[in-house]
C-alpha cells in the first residue's frame, strides 16, 4: 500500500538524517545534562530543606528535563519543514504521487523516535544523580513522551507550512520555546504561580506532559494523571490532524 510506503520513507529519512549527524546526537544530549547538573545541583543546594511535593529538587526537575529534550527535538524537527522548503526538498515530496498525509505523519513519528531515544539516553545518564525516580512506569512514560512529541511536531509543521521564508525563524523559535519551557512546571510547580501566569501554563500542552511524567516517574504531581493523558491524546490528535490537512494542500507558492 502506497500509504505505508510514504510513511516509511519519511520516517526513515528523519532517522537516517539523525544517524548521519553524530555530532548532533551528542550536542542535543549534552544540553539537558548541563541543565541537570549545573542548574539542578546548584538549585538543589540552595533549596536544601525546601520540598517540592515530597521531592528533592533534582528529582523534581528530572522528569521535566527529559520532557524538555523531547519537546525541543520534536518542535525543532517539525519547524524544520521550513528548511526543506528553503533547500527544495519539500518540492521532491510534493511532486511525488505518495500520500502527503502519510509522509508528514511518518516524518513526525521519525522525529518522535529520535526525540524519545534522546530522552531515554538522558534518563539513563541522569538516573544515578537522582534519588527518587521510579522506572517501573517507564512504558506509560514513553507513551506520554510520544504524545508530547506528536503535539509539538504538529505545531512546528503548522508554523513551518505557513511561513514563507526563513526570516523570523530564530525569532519564532525563541518566542515560542522559552515561555513554553519555563511555564510548563519543569523548573518550579505551577500551583503557586500568580493567576495570569497560571492561565498561560494551563494553555501550554507541555504542562500536561511534564505533570504526567512527574506523576509516572516520581509519584507526585500538580494535576490528575488521567486528565493529563486525556488532554495530551486530544491535543496530539488535533495538531497532527491540522498539520496533515495543511500539508495535504501545500503548494510552493
Amino acid at each position: 500500500m502506497n500509504w505505508w510506503d510514504s510513511f516509511i520513507a519519511m520516517w526513515y529519512r528523519q532517522v537516517k538524517r539523525f544517524w548521519h549527524a553524530k555530532a548532533r546526537v551528542i550536542g542535543t544530549i549534552t544540553q539537558p545534562i548541563f541543565w541537570l547538573i549545573f542548574f539542578g545541583i546548584g538549585f538543589a543546594a540552595s533549596f536544601r530543606g525546601v520540598v517540592f511535593g515530597r521531592l528533592d529538587y533534582i528529582s523534581f526537575m528530572f522528569p521535566g528535563i527529559i520532557l524538555m529534550t523531547i519537546f525541543m527535538g520534536s518542535f525543532m524537527s517539525g519547524i524544520s519543514v521550513i528548511w526543506d522548503k528553503e533547500f527544495g526538498y519539500l518540492k521532491v515530496v510534493l511532486v511525488a504521487p505518495s500520500s502527503r498525509k502519510a509522509s508528514i505523519l511518518g516524518r513526525s513519528l521519525g522525529d518522535a523516535t529520535i526525540a524519545i531515544i534522546q530522552g531515554i539516553i538522558i534518563l539513563i545518564i541522569g538516573y544515578p544523580l537522582v534519588r527518587s525516580i521510579n522506572v517501573v512506569n517507564i512504558l506509560p512514560f514513553l507513551a506520554v513522551a510520544l504524545l508530547v512529541s506528536m503535539t509539538f511536531a504538529g505545531i512546528g509543521i503548522l508554523i513551518a507550512t505557513r511561513m514563507r521564508s526563513m526570516e523570523g525563524f530564530q525569532l519564532i523559535v525563541n518566542l515560542i520555546t522559552m515561555p513554553l519551557i519555563f511555564l510548563s512546571g519543569i523548573f518550579y510547580p505551577i500551583d503557586t504561580l500568580p493567576i495570569w501566569l497560571k492561565i498561560i501554563a494551563y494553555i501550554n500542552p507541555l504542562t500536561y506532559g511534564v505533570d504526567a511524567s512527574r506523576i509516572l516517574l516520581t509519584g507526585t504531581g500538580s494535576l490528575n494523571l488521567m486528565t493529563d493523558i486525556t488532554l495530551l491524546i486530544i491535543l496530539s490528535g488535533l495538531f497532527m490532524a491540522l498539520a496533515m490537512h495543511q500539508f495535504e494542500k501545500a503548494t510552493i507558492d
Partner: protein
C-alpha cells in the same frame, strides 16, 4: 523524427500571476510523445513557473494542461505518477547518501524491495555514481548532485521527464555528460522530455522543437532549424586557389544557384550569405568540382537561436545582466516563489 499522434502534453492558456506580475501569460503548446521539447528564454521569462504548474506543485490562475492524459488541475495525483522532474536548484538531501536519497524517493513512488534496489543500482550505474552510493551527498560535487537528481527523476520510469535548467552552473565537461544522458534517454527509452534552458546551444543541440519564451509569453515555436531559418542567415567563406582558370564560371554558377545579392568575393575568397548553409555546401563542392576550381578551405557560421531572440525582442538571451527590468523580474520571481 516526431511521430504524428495525439500530443502527450497539451497546454492551453496557462497563466500564473504573482501579485501584479504575470509570470506566465496565457501560453499554449503541444508536446508529442517521444519528443524533446525545449523552453528557451532569459531568466525570469516564466520557464520554471511553467514547469512547476505542469508538475502540479503550483496552481495555475487560468488555463490548464493535460499531461499524459490527466488534467493538472483535476487529477494532480495521476499526473504525478507519470512524470519525473529534475529541479533547477539542488534538492537532494545532503545529509543522506546517494543510495538513501534514491531509496526514499523510490518509496514515495511506491517502489519496494528487490525491485527498488535493482532500479537504484541500475540508475546509479547509468549516471556513473554506483561507487559513490554510500557516500553522503554533501561530499559530492555539483555535477554529481545533478546526476543523482537525474537518476532520481528516472526512478519510477516516468513517461515524461521535466528538466529545469539541467546544466545550470555546471562545468563544460559535466554539461557534455548530462547532454549525453539526455540524448540516451530519448534514444534508448523513447522518453518525452520537456527541458527549460537559457543556454542557446543546449536548446539547439538537444531539442526537437524549441519554444522561445519571454515575459511569460511564447514568442516563437519551431524546430531549431526552422527558427534559425526564420530570421538568420548563415555565412559561408569559401577559400579557393586563385590560379584556377574557371573562377569566373564558378562564381556565375554560384550566383545562379543562390542569387546574385548574397555573394561577394575577393581574389581568393568568396563569401556567401545564405539560409540553410548545410544544404547548400554540398552543391558548392559539386559546382567547384564541375568547374575544376580547387577549394582550399571552407568556413561557415550559422545563425544562432540568440540571433532569433535578438530579432524577436531586440535583446540578447546571453546578456547575463539583462535589462534592469528583466533583472527585477527575475529577482521578484525568485522572491515570490518562496
Amino acid at each position: 523524427m516526431v511521430s504524428k499522434m495525439a500530443p502527450i502534453i497539451t497546454v492551453r492558456n496557462l497563466t500564473k500571476r504573482f501579485g501584479n506580475l504575470v509570470a506566465v501569460d496565457h501560453i499554449s503548446f503541444d508536446i508529442e510523445k517521444g519528443e524533446i521539447f525545449g523552453l528557451l528564454g532569459p531568466n525570469g521569462a516564466g520557464k520554471t513557473t511553467t514547469i512547476h504548474m505542469l508538475a502540479t506543485i503550483l496552481k495555475p490562475d487560468e488555463g490548464t494542461a493535460i499531461v499524459a492524459g490527466h488534467d493538472i488541475r483535476k487529477e494532480p495525483k495521476e499526473v504525478r505518477k507519470k512524470i519525473g522532474i529534475v529541479f533547477q536548484d539542488i534538492t537532494v538531501d545532503r545529509a543522506l547518501t546517494g543510495y538513501e536519497n534514491l531509496w526514499i524517493s523510490g518509496k514515495l513512488y511506491g517502489l519496494r524491495g528487490k525491485e527498488l534496489d535493482t532500479r537504484i543500482r541500475e540508475l546509479l550505474e547509468f549516471v556513473d555514481l554506483l561507487e559513490w552510493k554510500d557516500v553522503q551527498v554533501r561530499k559530492y560535487s555539483g555535477g554529481m548532485m545533478r546526476r543523482l537528481e537525474i537518476a532520481r527523476g528516472l526512478l519510477h520510469e516516468p513517461e515524461i521527464l521535466f528538466l529545469d535548467e539541467p546544466t545550470l552552473g555546471l562545468d563544460p565537461q559535466t554539461r557534455a555528460h548530462v547532454w549525453s544522458y539526455i540524448t540516451r534517454l530519448k534514444k534508448e527509452r523513447d522518453m518525452t522530455i520537456l527541458l527549460t534552458t537559457h543556454y542557446m546551444d543546449e536548446a539547439e543541440k538537444l531539442s526537437d522543437r524549441v519554444a522561445i519564451i519571454d515575459h511569460g509569453r511564447i514568442i516563437a515555436l519551431d524546430t531549431p532549424e526552422g527558427l534559425k531559418n526564420m530570421v538568420g542567415e548563415d555565412i559561408v567563406y569559401i577559400y579557393v586557389d586563385p590560379r584556377s582558370p574557371r573562377m569566373s564560371f564558378f562564381i556565375n554558377k554560384l550566383k545562379e544557384t543562390i542569387g546574385n545579392d548574397s555573394i561577394s568575393f575577393s581574389k581568393n575568397m568568396i563569401s556567401l550569405s545564405i539560409k540553410n548553409a548545410p544544404d547548400i555546401i554540398p552543391k558548392i563542392f559539386f559546382l567547384a568540382d564541375q568547374q575544376g576550381v580547387r577549394i582550399t578551405r571552407l568556413e561557415y557560421t550559422r545563425a544562432s537561436l540568440d540571433d532569433v531572440f535578438l530579432k524577436l525582442t531586440g535583446r540578447r538571451i546571453r546578456d547575463e545582466e539583462g535589462s534592469l527590468r528583466d533583472f527585477m523580474r527575475a529577482r521578484l520571481l525568485r522572491f515570490r516563489r518562496r
